[in-house]
Amino acid sequence: MRPKEAVGLMVTVLSLLLFAYEIFYVGLVTGTIGIKGQVTTDALLLSTGFLLIILGPALWLGEVPTNLKKLIEAKTGRKLG
């Protein structure tokens, strides 16, 4: 695993933990995430999880998918690296 992929995996795991904690624990137990008119830790953690979950898998699995590569190569005759 390359360093970029390892970082991506770590970010993905962290974001999933943040999501799981805020959605399944805080949200379900208290019925709300954050307090109206305030910036709370819970709302910030979920927002951070939201941003990291977009970035993490992209770093981890960021290569162009094989089936897409094959499609382009078949249609263009060009060999993709």
Partner: protein, 614 residues
């Protein structure tokens, strides 16, 4: 003429759109003008880079294009235009959509696809020269930064006002990623993947209804800015394609429910007037509330209607999307008709059936209550609207008109199915659903705008590449280009400033971007006129389209150009003098510069036409 049943409008709108798609879109535009061929290689294959140039499934691309072009415009514009009555806005949406907006979108995609996926601004170089290209690109880049500022603000305000919309948005992104990973990585079919994520989405909907997510406006601006940078720099196959494909289901449900709602209550009559007057008060874009320009009946339907109703009928932003992200993902030329022409007709259907029709139905709250026997006033009271003090829907702000109209139409319809007991809860539920749909449109447009700003930025500096390839690469790096546009947009969306309005003697607090935002309506529609002229010139000069077909393209383009140019000059004369000095400098100067550029570009257009003809 006022007593029109809902079903009549529904049938007319659907029939007109169906005929337009087949007779004008398929037979004339696709076959005679563009001569689209499934055998031609598209830029998505020719220039595949795994980031921006990536072929997409026809329906995925349709979802992307539709969700990106449908920002807040197709909702707030027609809602504001209802002060003219419902007839004129509906007529403009139908006419503008079929003969201008959808043509403009389709030709922008196809012209771009035939020129390696470059923007319509760069295509102008081929028919109008280098000067036109750089003027056009700079103009569009600034407009996109302004869109970013406005949408940071609109989305943040929506999330603060409807915190459950924030919850569903935050949950929506990982669900879309799951779809992309399932389909692209694990080989799960699109059909199976769709079923899995739709089940997850339904669970997320019910969760969001009960768990609001609270942050402040300023915090949302920062979160959305970071989101926009990340989302716009990532490969399209990873987030944009799956997200927009799934988003299209939300948006389809939204339009589909409007159609089903109308079918359940076909006999109900509109409670609103078909026509209130040619010059309506309170419609002037950019005029401040409480000032003479804001309340005087000076908003003449012509030439101001394109400044009020944008995306639902036509919008310059669409040509940037069409020749920006869409053309780079087109896998077959024959897909473009559904994506471009069909996508724009869908947006018109959204404006006609999900905005204009519900507002026309729910216009007079007392009349609606007496026609249905339902407790309209008490339902409205639940959201803080007093039906005695506010007896008609046009007394509400633009977006509220839409939320209330959509909620009431759905509640009336479903009360007929399940009994009057569900009326109030249905009203509140569908009003929230409408806010979610609005947030969905806005979020998609947010990162697409940033990606488009990055494309425009790159093309704007292409002259640098032969001189210094390293400097060009550094300046146009996808992260650098994204960050520059977002930081400028956020700087305009974040701070509040105090403005003294001499006419009322009051000081009002506004977000910084609103100082220049009034100019956007005009500059965006001017862009539409110029892009359509460029596309028609492309059809004339490159595609060699002549005779009646050429006139069918050229006449609406010239009509739009004249309308928007007169509208902007009218705006400078009728509205700007009544604005505070800060607005005069901000919005006024932008419109003035736009009119000058407009005249310069029309000279280049006429010259290009002459050269192509000779």
């Amino acid at each position: 003429m006022d007593n029109v049943p809902v079903i009549l409008v529904l049938v007319i709108v659907l029939a007109i759109y169906g005929l337009a798609y087949v007779l004008y879109g398929k037979r004339i535009l696709e076959r005679r003008v563009v001569r689209a061929s499934p055998d031609k290689m598209t830029p998505a294959f020719e220039k595949f880079d795994g980031i921006d140039y990536v072929p997409a499934n026809k329906y995925v691309l349709y979802g992307h294009h539709f969700a990106s072009i449908a920002g807040a415009g197709p909702i707030t514009g027609p809602a504001l235009a209802m002060v003219w009555g419902w007839g004129l806005p509906l007529a403009w949406v139908l006419f503008g959509n079929i003969f201008i907006g959808a043509v403009h979108d389709y030709l922008a995609i196809m012209a771009s696809a035939r020129h390696g996926g470059v923007s319509i601004m760069s295509i102008s170089e081929n028919v109008m020269g280098k000067k036109a290209k750089y003027i056009f690109l700079a103009y569009v880049w600034f407009a996109l930064v302004l869109v970013l500022a406005a949408f940071f603000s609109v989305a943040s305000s929506t999330f603060v006002g409807t915190p459950t919309a924030a919850t569903i948005t935050v949950l929506f992104m990982p669900i879309a990623l799951i779809f992309g990973l399932l389909v692209y990585r694990t080989g799960v079919s699109v059909k199976t993947g769709t079923v899995i994520v739709l089940v997850l989405l339904i669970i997320a909907f019910f969760y969001s209804l009960n768990v609001p997510l609270y942050l402040t406006y300023e915090a949302w601006v920062i979160v959305l800015s970071l989101y926009s940078i990340i989302a716009a720099a990532l490969p399209v196959w990873y987030l944009l394609q799956p997200r927009d494909y799934i988003n299209a289901y939300l948006l389809w449900s939204f339009v589909g429910l409007a159609i089903i709602g109308a079918l359940i209550i076909p006999d109900l009559l509109f409670t609103g007037p078909i026509y209130t007057g040619f010059a309506a008060p309170g419609t002037v874009i950019g005029a401040l509330a409480g000032t003479a320009a804001g309340s005087a009946p000076i908003a003449f339907f012509w030439p101001t209607v394109p400044l009020v109703i944008a995306c639902g009928a036509l919008s310059g932003f669409h040509s940037v999307v069409g020749s920006g992200t869409t053309s780079k993902q087109l896998s077959n030329e024959l897909d473009a008709l559904l994506v471009g022409y069909g996508g724009m007709l869908t947006e018109g259907a959204l404006s006609s059936l999900a905005v204009i029709t519900p507002i026309a139905l729910a216009w007079n709250f007392a009349s609606l209550a007496s026609a249905t026997g339902l407790p309209v006033a008490s339902a409205l009271l639940k959201i803080g609207v007093n039906a005695t003090a506010t007896p008609i829907i046009t007394r509400l702000a633009g977006t509220d008109r839409f939320l209330v109209g959509y909620g009431l139409e759905q509640a009336v319809a479903w009360s007929r199915v399940f009994g009057p007991g569900v009326f109030e809860s249905a009203f509140l539920g569908f009003r929230t659903f409408a806010a979610w749909a609005l947030a969905g449109f806005v979020m998609t447009t947010l990162d697409t705008s940033n990606r488009l700003a990055r494309f425009a930025w790159k093309e704007l500096f292409d002259w640098l590449e032969p001189k210094s390839a390293a400097a060009y690469r550094a300046l146009t790096n996808r992260w650098v280009a994204s960050i520059i546009a977002v930081v400028l947009g956020a700087v305009m969306a974040y701070p509040k400033i105090e403005v003294f309005i001499p006419e009322t003697g009051k000081v009002t607090t506004v977000y910084a971007y609103t100082i220049v935002w009034p100019a956007f309506a005009g500059t965006n529609q001017l862009l539409a006129a110029l892009a359509l002229l460029t596309a028609t010139l492309w059809a004339y000069a490159i595609q060699k389209v002549r005779g009646g077909t050429s006139l069918l393209l050229m006449l609406p383009a010239l009509f739009l150009w004249i309308t928007v140019t007169v509208g902007l000059i009218w705006w400078l004369i009728a509205v700007v003098p009544g604005l505070p000095p800060l607005y005069q400098v901000g919005a006024g100067s932008i419109v003035l510069v736009s009119v000058v550029l407009d005249l310069l570009l029309i000279v280049l257009f006429v010259r290009g036409l002459g050269m192509s003809g000779s």
